[in-house]
Symmetry: C2
């Protein structure tokens, strides 16, 4: 007498969590230092010092009601003003607080947006492989259907022929995630322009907008000065789902936003429907102290030193060993071809060395392996001989 | 091209929020002190000093990762242990962390539970009038149907004849809320026993459990030593949705839990389905710093002095003036008969005096008026002449 669907979602761990749990149990037997866990995307750099400073200052100077009281469902006005100003400065936009809806992180930003846009069980959302596996769960629980566009396994940009084939009258949105989890690849300006052209033409042809839902928790995590195009500059019907989880190393705090630009068709309806979707899912407001902290830290930059060093070390070493991999410019993942082609088998083989790397099937790429490098650098250094051994096994 | 349902939920404010917004606008014209706002249930007492102390201590002594990292979806182990121990001490139960799932407040505790239990669009949930209006939204968005049992307008306990009539093969649960919003009434032990007997008999007859979903954000807010029966002691198939919003005056922080006792039929499936429901709605974990704070404050008691003084002043004064009202023993609401019988009209009349009180239609009692007394006492003192005037208008 329960929902089988929810029971399934609650009973079956993702393969990422499976590996992570396996690692925890093995660690008790062989010792923590002998487990080479590259499974999970938990930021390894601490939150910037400004976060702690802001938190203590707010707690010590403001009233309980101002800190801990309800904010409006959309979020604290000052925080939304600060976020809008920061985006305007960085990207030359003209956002105001009215474009922002603060959420408990990117996951409920996505579920509220999907709930808002799903007007019938026929509604379809396109994910471009490789993609974050939770998209499937979010789309299906919102009542829609996930359609997967196969990966461009060469450069992990977008296979536009496949994309065009996937769009039909039921397509509500294309979900993109750049910098990408799991590939670490950043969509180039050229990719975004082509995507925008195609979606504009398709929207025209279908007589209704095909939205871009840009899931951007990794926007600030890029290396070597690579530019991450700001999608609303290229495509009017873009809705952004953002999170401070990775950029400020606050994954447990659940703070992010939905941004609906004025340029979105029927802006007021879309914004209000996102609000309604969030309300129906149990959103009252985002955590109020954390909203205030974000208001004071919108321009704080993450320290990327370790991630960049890890990226370089891992990419250079693995490619030298003979592994094949598109160079990751952002996020903290590297997505390589599984030697032999069967990533599940390769991941199992790696487990025998206590090397935990995630097979790509759930990301829509069953021949690839994800390595999370948001770990202490010495773990990579000590794991390199194992990767060397593994490719010869 | 959006969900009309979500658009409606996002566009139409609740009548509580409407009144609250009206008050904000009027305040700009006539001055804040001339608005007698009794519309909203925002705790007026500050969070206990222990909360601030715990927050600063955690921020100053623990690592960033320990404070702000992901917890498991179910919540921080130590916090769940602390909550379980506290409940065991207070109510003689034998809960462990495995019975607890920490959420972003009571609203998502309810939506996750409803999502878990709703296995078909035929599933029905019974609310007993008067009831918190968001139940309708939560049940409908979860995919089920809300069935309302008319109020026992005499004592605001339960009209059991009406309840029996409302239960059928599709009934999944009865949602109860004691201390009650909006009546302030606490269900007596006698009420809970009768309710349990009926639900046991009906479960037997129907061949499936009819759950109690106990929404308990006001459990700690009772006056004059009144006892709030602990429902799992009386009925095995009870699921509790709790929040620290009111008890610790942390409404904006979004922290609460779902408690599934071992006594619930098919405990593992229910707990896992709640987890799956939460996941599908975008839950990753509850705010991590706040989880740690709660872990240190589980036994902190709220200061009820002001609420109790307000309750006494308002109840005694209004009944003396001739208003009719069941005595509220808990929460911070008083629910009186609208003189003349039309609460909407009465609320409009009150608005002409800048007295903001909420008509009962959305609570399932169109002849009653809700007064929130979580306000500074002087607001009540200054409003009493207006209530006196109003009953004669």
């Amino acid at each position: 007498m329960v929902s089988e669907k929810m029971l399934g979602l609650g009973s079956r761990r993702s393969c990422i969590r499976e590996l992570f749990e396996f690692g925890r149990q093995r660690a008790e037997i062989v010792g923590r230092e002998n487990i080479f866990d590259f499974s999970i995307g938990n930021p390894s750099t601490p939150a910037p010092e400004e976060v702690k400073k802001a938190a203590i200052e707010i707690l010590e100077t403001e009233s309980s009601d101002a800190i801990h009281g309800y904010t409006s469902a959309s979020g604290n006005d000052q925080t939304r003003d600060a976020i809008a100003s920061s985006l305007n400065r960085r990207f030359g936009m003209d956002f105001t607080r009215k474009n922002l809806f603060i959420t408990c992180g990117a996951a409920p930003a996505l579920t509220a947006t999907l709930k808002a846009l799903t007007y019938s069980p026929e509604c379809e959302y396109i994910a471009i492989a490789p993609f974050f596996p939770e998209y499937r769960c979010f789309v299906e629980v919102s009542g829609g259907k996930l359609v997967v566009v196969p990966a461009d396994t060469d450069k992990f940009q977008i296979d536009f022929d496949e994309l065009k084939k996937a769009i039909n009258k039921n397509t509500q949105a294309v979900i993109i995630n750049s910098p990408n989890n799991p590939s670490g690849v950043v969509y180039t300006e050229d990719t975004i322009k082509k995507l925008s052209d195609i979606l504009r033409a398709k929207s025209e042809e279908l007589g209704h907008p095909v939205f871009i839902i840009a899931d951007e928790p990794y926007r600030e995590l890029v290396y070597g000065g690579v530019d991450v195009p700001y999608i609303p500059k290229f495509y009017n019907n873009t809705i952004i789902c953002y999170s401070y989880s990775k950029s400020l190393s606050l994954p447990g705090e659940r703070i992010g936003y939905v941004l609906v630009p004025n340029s979105v068709d029927d802006f007021t309806s879309i914004y209000n429907a996102v609000m309604g979707g969030a309300r129906g899912l149990g959103h009252v407001c985002a955590p109020s102290l954390m909203q205030k902290i974000i208001g004071k830290c919108v321009d704080v930059k993450p320290d990327l030193t370790v991630y960049e060093r890890n990226r370089n070390l891992l990419y250079d070493s693995l490619t030298k060993m003979g592994y094949k991999c598109a160079k990751p410019d952002g996020a903290f993942y590297l997505f390589m071809e599984a030697p032999g082609g069967d990533a599940a088998a390769f991941s199992e083989k790696a487990k025998t060395l206590d090397l935990l790397i995630v097979p790509g099937a759930d990301f829509g790429c069953p021949g690839h392996i994800r390595i999370s490098y948001c770990v202490p650098t010495d773990r990579i250094e000590r794991a390199l001989p194992l990767f060397e051994k593994l490719i010869k096994m």
